[in-house]
Symmetry: C2
DNA sequence: GTGAAAGCGCTAACAT
DNA sequence: ATGTTAGCGCTTTCAC
């Protein structure tokens, strides 16, 4: 079994408090004894128990982070941002993959409570039974601050850092209009998700502002996935009258769209122009230039963690929502053929 | 402050041990009292402290997982696998991103020791100063089993689950030969990494076995990145005499290669055929069919975690290395034009 | 079946 | 400057 503070104390012929002092360099301790203690620590290969310390301290130094899918670059980047500032500020992270699954999310929250996390960052999934919301409230009522990361839910009662989906879609749509397209469509994500709805609104408002005619059949109801996008695009491309440009609400759907276009022997942007939501690094790297709305996901993570720390220092801040505007990068796929 | 077991005991008019018993359903407790206790727990919204339990138990129930980069899908998938079995077996994960940085890795290992992890899964980075190796040995000497996940290092003294890079490259090369290519090259990864070296060997052995002539200038020394791959490919494509096919040691490099090919107005596989290492999902989804060697990364994670659990149960197993053969998926990019 | 008491490894007053 | 003494919240003998 590993050496304890007691072993160190005995070997260094001092009391446990002295050892504790050199460990945390708190309080006074003569240089001479400090060195002796340090030597013993080194010699016995002593590693203090964070567990015991936490119990005594009543400080776990741990932040819980819950995301729907670690493999999704979108969330992975947020985590990167969170990690960055957590490291810098000396917080440990307990990372949980809720797998888009309400039940798992709840178990996770349960477990995190038991771990006595000091704060929680969460990409909240839409809670049918409101169970998750209850957990979040429990956290808050127990003085565990909660900061929401962009996602389906946007509860006013908690701090949060969000992406401006509306604005991103709005700008993208204007860019398509400015490129000279007369008939423009949208492929939406699952409309049960907040971001998908906001993007749709952004699109519609932009169209209305510019007095563009909207056709109902130009709203393609996708589900964020590439497969459905493929089918929808194919159907659309076989119509007589159709949009010359599309705003596409997710990068996966852009991929499906592209497959449809290429299978029909058509090309981008000549036969169909588009702007997508979320970067498409891979495609840009091989020289297929995709115009996209780029959200600052890493920054979302950083800001959220910073906000959490602020709140840890001062519980009495009023809740705030930070909303980040995405960037529009035009690379050519939005162009209108003359 | 949260309710403690003591509060529950008082409110339920029983002793702390009884509460503890119902919490862990250990020992006997009358149905009636159990219900009363449960009721109080519910009412007081009690959540037991994992910290206190761990201290008492001397069991943290926690496994440390260290990877060089959470954002890299390669490692993200391993984590997915690890998570899967950890969840099922009731272990908590402490996930650390070492950022390919030796110093960070060491700090992380240090921190994990203090957290009293019961086991460690690590994608070890090449340790210049052997400091990491010392940490790993420390772990073992303190009865904390270590299982290596495929990566740069392959220390014989620890259990590990690896990918058969040699075999993958070997098979891919044979496939190119079978496709009818007479002159075949390779683009390597950073040769300081074990996988890159093994892949190179696999390529060379396959060439030799089939008595193919190898040209020194057909070994392109890449660095895993797309930028260098782009330059190397461009140079190669401008030569008079050159390979008609390439085995490319990473997916990022495939991307750079493709950009070079398309910029020169050439096409795949007509002007240059290839097989790459690591899947290229995105490209396959848009209908560019890339032949690749697919490693079973999720499985690496699963097997490693399972192995760790075995060792947790039985410290005295002899160390073993499990090596997984990747699959070759041919999708057309390897074809020879007639 | 249930309770009393000791102890897990550390910190934090409070003395000295 | 250093030691003494209580806990922190839980589990676990050992009694009864």
């Amino acid at each position: 079994m590993p050496a304890t503070i007691k072993d160190i104390a005995k070997a260094a012929k001092v009391s446990r408090s002295t050892v504790s002092r050199v460990l945390n360099d708190s309080g006074y301790v003569k240089e001479e004894t400090r060195e002796r203690v340090l030597a013993v620590i080194e010699e016995l290969n002593y590693s203090p128990s964070a567990i015991a310390r936490s119990l005594s301290n009543k400080r776990s130094n741990t932040i819980g982070v819950v995301v729907p899918d670690i493999n999704n670059p979108f969330f992975a980047e947020m985590i990167k941002g969170v990690t960055r500032v957590a490291d810098a500020e000396g917080y440990r992270l307990l990372l949980v993959d809720s797998d888009e699954n309400n039940e798992k999310e709840q178990l996770a929250l349960q477990a995190l409570k038991e771990q006595r996390i000091e704060g929680l960052l969460i990409v909240a999934t839409p809670a049918k039974e409101k169970k998750s919301l209850e957990h979040l409230r429990w956290m808050r009522s127990h003085h565990i601050p909660v900061v929401l990361l962009d996602g389906h839910m946007k509860y006013d009662e908690f701090d949060g850092v969000f992406i401006d989906h509306y604005q991103g879609a709005h700008e993208a749509t204007l860019a398509l209009i400015d490129a000279g397209h007369k008939r423009i469509g949208i492929m939406t994500g699952k409309l049960s998700s907040r971001p998908a709805m906001e993007r749709l609104r952004g699109f519609q408002d932009a169209m209305a502002e510019r007095k563009m005619t909207s056709y109902d059949e130009d709203i393609l109801f996708g589900d964020y996935g590439h497969e459905k996008a493929y089918r929808l695009t194919k159907e659309m491309l076989m119509r007589d009258k159709r949009p010359t440009a599309l705003f596409i609400s997710s990068n996966q759907m852009v991929l499906g769209m592209m497959r449809a276009v290429s299978e029909l022997g058509l090309s981008i942007p000549k036969d169909l122009a588009f702007i997508g939501f979320d970067r498409l690094e891979t495609l840009n790297l091989i020289g297929m230039n995709c115009s996209t709305v780029d959200a600052h996901t890493v920054e979302v993570g950083e800001l959220a963690m910073k906000r959490l720390i602020q709140r840890l220092d001062n519980e009495k801040l009023k809740t705030a929502h930070r909303v980040l505007r995405p960037d529009l990068s035009l690379r050519g796929s939005e162009s209108k053929s003359k």
